[in-house]
Amino acid sequence: MRKYRIRRILLWAARCMIAVIVLVTALANLFFAAARNSISRNIDSYFTQHVSFGRIFYIPPGFLMITDLCISQERSGKMRPALIAPVVRLRFSPLQLAITRNFAILDIRFYEPRMNYYKFYNFLRENFVRIVEFIRLSPKQDIHFSIRQARLDLDQKGSNPNYFTSSIEVSLQGNEISGRGSLSKDMDVLLLEKSRLQQRSRGGLALQYQFRGILENSGFSIETLEFMRKNLYAKFWGKLLSHDMALNGFAFIDTRVDESALGASGADSGNQALPLSWQSAETLGLPHANLYLLDINCRVNLVFPQLRIDHLSFSVNNNPCALTGSITLGDPIGFDLMFSSSLAHMLEDARVENFKKIFLGLKGDFQNDLFRLEAQLNFDLVKKKKGSLPLEKFEAAFKGVTVNCGAHPRFAVNFKEADFFCSTDSNTYKILLKDFGGMVSLLNDRYASLEFGSWFADGSLRGRASFDLTQVSPLVTATLRLRNCNANALDGILIHFSKVHGKLFSQMHFRNSPNLYLRGGLVIKDGYLKNFEFFKWLADFFGLDSLKKVDFSRAFSNFSIDQEGASLQHINLDSRDLRLNGSFGLGANDLVSSKLSLVFSKSLLRESPKFTPLLRLLDKDMDSLTFDFQLSGWLHGMNFKWLQSDFKQRIQNSIPNFIERSIEKNIETAIESIDKK
């Protein structure tokens, strides 16, 4: 009987409790339904952007669910969403609420929110102070915060198939804060399935991270911050005090890993939930890393929106690098950065081994997918080793550069002016490009191509280049075409062009691996050579003043430049009184190797008193005289050999040997005296 009574009491109590719960739930949900608009208004008035949500409902014992949370901004009279969270779950302690009347949130979870990076960035930028203030004023209590599979769209129009997928978990317990997460770059692809095109997500290789730190009165002590990917492991530690952050760390990277292969194999890695286990670098094969970023030492001052890098130094494979400057996290994002490095050790065993110092200065801004900047790039190179580039210095200054990333993976690159300067152990070279327009296409992570056109030497330069990025020093192949250029304006590349006039057309091919070469052909039309060294030498030697200015309708030559030297082949120059054919090569140490054939007209030869006696040896019906000769030795003191010909044979037959020797001696003296001039 007593048992029956107790059972009835318990049953009655349970019914009451259920009724209370149902009642409280109903009341709470009625309250939230009724207060929806006022809650929305209150939240909305707190932020600069419009914040709205679908419903708030209570689920016992301590959950609040918010559906369709949306942060949007007005543009052109339309509300455009920056963040959409289908479901947000808040967990609170009903007991604490009942006893202390304190609504303490213990857990916040966002499920599959979707945000536009740029719009959400605007939201953060405009409300940064409010958010920081909100966090600062929040009661200090243990809390868990997580975002599951957030999607960050990268462009404003929604046409970019690439996006980031991110998950994060953060826990605050006492003063200790810890968290972990992952970030991957994914892509929407269209696949043909059952005769229908279906949109599917292709996951990239995820970057995982975890951190642990201690909250302090004036900041945050970072005990450990680790990043891990299949080809990367990095660890940092430091302190964030007020606006100043000090960070130290190191990183190992394996650049030889084929990321596309990894991405394909880990197709869903981007969509994975938080990493379940944290593997060490060794188990990932990073002992095979080929890029070591060690001794990272960073001092940064952040007074939003200004990020000032007071000091950032690190070593790349034992080569010291430094970065200073500032980044303005505004709209547009501004940057003024200077990077310098010594790469002698890094490239010691590489194909191009003679880099010594690199300086890169970038100043500009970024807005709406568009970089606008000025850039300066300097390379200092050590004395060349065999097989390396024969450069000692390379400098490039770019003005009015714009890079449009809107059509990723194609980038439109334009600049108003670029000044290139380089020097070898014997020469300096200058190139000025204006009104450059090009399109860079990243075919994948390993290959890129560039198509471009530019004003160059009063004419045009067009070309196409491809870059193999799998090496530390990219492998470049390029085809260039010059049209209607002023030959004289090319004197910055080759000083001899200062004596050449006419319209120049050329097509050339460049490759820097396995051996560096530049090959091509050039034609100069309707021009003249004025005081061209070789013809000036001939003019002085033979007393033919007309050769100091040689008019021609067409001059042609093939050329090649490689590690062995530079050469002109199939030289062909047609002038009224002169014809030149042959080849001319210039090797290491300015050593010449050349065979030329010169044809003088009879009328030209009559100008020279030296030729008058020789003309008597010519047949009367011959209207020209051919000299075949060979040049060799040092460029500035070449050996000269008159090659065998009928004319030479005829002269030899007509003079005795001792006269031959006397003529030879006299000419030797004459040549030496001309060269000394």
Binding site: Q630, W634, G637, N639, K641, E664
Partner: protein, 174 residues
């Protein structure tokens, strides 16, 4: 009279020192040549070396220095040979033997696989003389050393060949 006699003696002494010096160095050189003629290169080398040590400013020093360098080369003492030929090139830049000393240095650098030195010496030899070939295909330059070795450099338009006693010992093409 007595004073004049003393002055004469002093003057005689002063003038006789270089004469004796020249005579003594000439004597050593003659002794060396006699040893060369007797095909005794070791003794000749000793005389040349002592000549260089005792009479470094002698007019025979140039020939003696080339000969000692030659001797070191012939016994494969390339280090001492290199030193003496280098000294020869520096001390006697206008000597007819300079071209052949450079060729020896090139030969030694080649034996020691000193590529940069080889390149530098090749350049120096090529720049040594500018040539013009109007009616002939080659030109020859000759030199006979104190060790009675006959040197010959044959210049072509794009190469130089070096012979010692008609045997090729160095060649440069360019």
């Amino acid at each position: 009279m007595y004073r004049k006699f003393i002055a004469f003696i002093i003057l005689f002494q002063a003038l006789s020192v270089p004469l004796v010096y020249a005579q003594e160095s000439g004597y050593r050189y003659t002794q060396a040549l006699e040893a060369v003629n007797a095909h005794d290169e070791n003794t000749a080398f000793m005389h040349f070396r002592s000549l260089l040590a005792d009479f470094p400013d002698s007019r025979y020093a140039e020939l003696a220095l080339f000969a000692t360098a030659e001797y070191y080369f012939s016994v494969a003492d390339y280090q001492d040979s290199w030193q003496d030929f280098s000294r020869f090139v520096n001390d006697y830049p206008d000597s007819r033997g300079k071209l052949f000393a450079l060729a020896y240095l090139l030969n030694i650098a080649g034996k020691q696989n000193k590529e940069a030195l080889v390149k530098g010496l090749e350049k120096e030899i090529v720049l040594f003389r500018q040539m013009t070939f109007l009616f002939r295909n080659s030109k020859e330059f000759k030199y006979t050393s104190a060790l009675r070795k006959k040197y010959k450099a044959v210049y072509y338009i794009d190469k130089i060949e070096f012979y010692v006693n008609n045997e090729l010992y160095a060649k440069i093409s360019y």
